[in-house]
Amino acid sequence: MEVLAGLAYGFGIALQPMNLLWCLLGCVLGTLVGIMPGLGPAAAIAMLMPISFNMDPTGGIIMLAGIYYGAKYGGSTTSILLNIPGEASSVASCIDGYQMAKRGRAGAALGIAAIASFVAGTFGVVLLTLVAPPIARFALSFSSPEYFALLSLGLALVVLFAGESPIKAALAMLLGLWFTSIGIDLFSAQARFTFGQTALLNGIDFMIVAIGVFAVAEVLGSVQARTDAQLPSVPRGIRNLLPNWEELKACRFALVNGSITGFLVGVLPGAGSSISSFIAYAFEKLFSKHPERFGQGAPEGLAAPEAANNADTSGALVPMLTLGLPGGGTTAILLSALVLWGLKPGPMLMQDSPNVFWGLVASMYIGNLMLLLLNLPLVPLFAQALRIPAYVLFPMILGISVVGVFGVAQSIFHVGLLAGFGLLGYAMARLGFPGAPLILGFVLGDGMERALRQSLQMSGGDLGILVSRPIAAGLLVAAVLVLIMPLVGRFNRWRLRGIAENG
């Protein structure tokens, strides 16, 4: 009852004309930020903070949060159309989203992304409304050993979902694990694999690896294959630009899976938003009746990660609003905005500033609806991007990639790195190595190494800490099962063949 009263109070605030306007502005800006690779929501919010400083805190946080979750809607657009992930959390959307576009279903893919984002975004806000305090306490029971186990499960799923050859997937993943160890090591403060380059001391930014291995490699591959005549065709007529019934039906479990996975992973302050979309994708493939369709343009392979990265935003707001603990870069900046307004983020925020808390929560229901209405009509428009001839499109993709990387790192050295990763991605594609496991190894490896070494610091070097804690042990067992499963399948086939031959 208390929740309903709070929510009603919140809607009273969020529906005020000015706050509606701020919400709309945030959603529009967020969509734009999401579309542009290199300009992430974190940087955009930081740049807008001085402006929002003069607004009242409720309107301000409504707008800034709109940018945060709006970016997740926009992030899928370039992933689907150009194979350029706009944000770390939309890498998984590239895998099947881009394949759908290549098969002439770009409009359908964009539509599915928008719908999945809306369903999961709203589901996430409902959970945020109902269970914020207890679930925040659950998140605190996770510490380094649990994160290590969770990330091990993530990497085991990578090897499983990467498709034809688990060996090649594992090798690509190991390469990613190596790249992620470049830079100053947190634990010893010593530089690793930097070869005297100060530009490498902070490690390599994720965007450089992702854009290089996906977008640049894709352009190189297309140019080499001289596919300019066979660019993805865009069917005419509005009907063909929106998802059809079969495609939507295929996504129904993906929406549930993505929403729950995204929210739960989002709540964990140490997990970060890129992981939730990968895990949702892997789950979707793991429990699918047609795993062979994944990577070939399966709608559910797009819906699951898109749902997850939207539910994740609400999840990440749980520890931020209930404990003052941001789960990632963007929530950290939202938190510092609250401080600038003179609010005190922490366990007392809900009591001290109910207008901000409930106003924000209510505005997120409205914002998600706005984003759906905003993004669906844009689908046919964006889908036209693929009508652009290859001699314009490919230089444009390279241009966006270079600008995106320069925007992140602001150095030419990193643009050189981008070229290097582009060539690497091209070589891998020629040799039949999948790119996604490399990216996954890169994204998850950093946190995984940290979690392992933190666990050992906690236990004084005793590995037993990883199996003596129930959640960690459970997740590790799941990881082992995931790795064994294909072997069991292979053994079964071999056994059946043996029986057939003998019988």
Partner: protein, 325 residues
């Protein structure tokens, strides 16, 4: 006689007052570039933006000031950029203690504050030792005693081994002979989550963050890492008051200019920041964020760099970390 005296006095005054304007003659003609080593939104960037906002609100700068991000290398990119900008009077860099400490350990970090021209030191960030609200330890002494009895018992969450929290731990451990574990987390919120979840026993935390968690009944403060008690923690003793005779490890922020910047340029910046420090907008920002006002002019800031380097070198060597310069 009287008249002559007056004239002499007036002449002397003109000469004397002439010294001031002559020194402060430099005024920048184009916007000032304020170099920070973090990306938008992170600590130094947020501090720089708040500072610019205060300068604009108080209208004390003749030209606009803009942020220039030189991200990477734990401050190395920004520091070497400042060195490269030798001769440029429109560029200043926002230093943090990391600019002084990291090059002591990283051989690749060749740009040190020693080569730059010190401008001012602005603030020192205090910190507090905190435990979970239901922790059995009521004082710093109790937790140190427990660590002495069993070196595997107590764990502290913190940042890099060069960060202040790690340094304070080393200082305390060598002072008391106690040992406890240090678990490194890259972000503050992970350090707090580890404490609130009961996975570690204590941490060093920024007072503004601690304040809210204490008010929310999640945390308790045991001691302050500062020279004197903060107004918001009137009942929490400083480490010295709690009986630990250890040097304070200050975490400072301020500005440096490129190498060999002329005296009159430095004088301009000194006056700019002196006006800022006296302004109510800035004072309110310091109170809100629990920063300690620690204004020093160029010469004293240079001395501070030397003292801090020596202190850190001693502590790092004592902690078994290889010091390269």
């Amino acid at each position: 006689m009287k008249r002559r005296g007056f004239l002499v006095g007036a002449a002397a005054l003109t000469v004397l007052s002439g010294v001031g304007p002559a020194e402060a003659q430099y005024t920048p003609s184009r916007p000032i570039d304020l170099v920070v080593h973090s990306g938008p939104g992170a600590g130094p960037d947020a501090f720089g933006r708040a500072l610019i906002a205060a300068i604009e609100a108080e209208k004390i700068s003749p030209v606009r000031i803009q942020i220039n991000h030189k991200i990477g290398g734990g401050g190395a990119t920004a520091a070497s950029y400042i060195i490269e900008k030798k001769g440029d009077t429109n560029t200043i860099g926002l230093f943090t203690s990391a600019w002084i400490a990291n090059p002591l350990v990283q051989a690749d970090m060749k740009a040190t504050v020693k080569e730059m021209t010190p401008v001012v030191r602005l603030v020192i960030e205090p910190a507090v030792f905190a435990v979970r609200a239901d922790s059995p330890y009521k004082s710093m002494q109790e937790i140190v005693d427990a660590a002495k009895k069993d070196p595997t018992k107590i764990k502290q969450s913190g940042g890099s081994p060069l960060a202040r929290d790690a340094i304070v731990r080393h200082v305390l451990m060598s002072n008391t002979g106690a040992r406890w574990a240090f678990v490194s987390f890259p972000t503050g919120s992970e350090r707090i989550a580890a404490l609130l979840g009961g996975h570690v026993d204590m941490m060093i935390i920024e007072p503004s963050e601690a304040g809210e968690l204490i008010r929310g009944g999640q945390m308790r403060a045991l001691a302050q890492v500062s020279d004197k008690r903060l107004s918001t923690f009137p009942n929490t003793p400083t480490l010295r008051e709690a009986g630990f005779n250890v040097p304070n490890v200050p975490q400072a922020r301020g500005f440096v200019a490129p190498p060999d910047t002329p005296r009159e340029v430095i004088a301009f910046y000194e006056q700019l920041f002196e006006k800022l420090v006296k302004s109510p907008t800035w004072q309110k920002y310091l109170t809100d964020n629990q920063f300690e006002d620690a204004f020093l002019k160029s010469e004293e800031t240079g001395k501070f760099f030397d003292q801090y380097s020596d202190l850190m070198r001693g502590i790092l060597t004592g902690a078994g970390i290889r010091v390269v310069r």
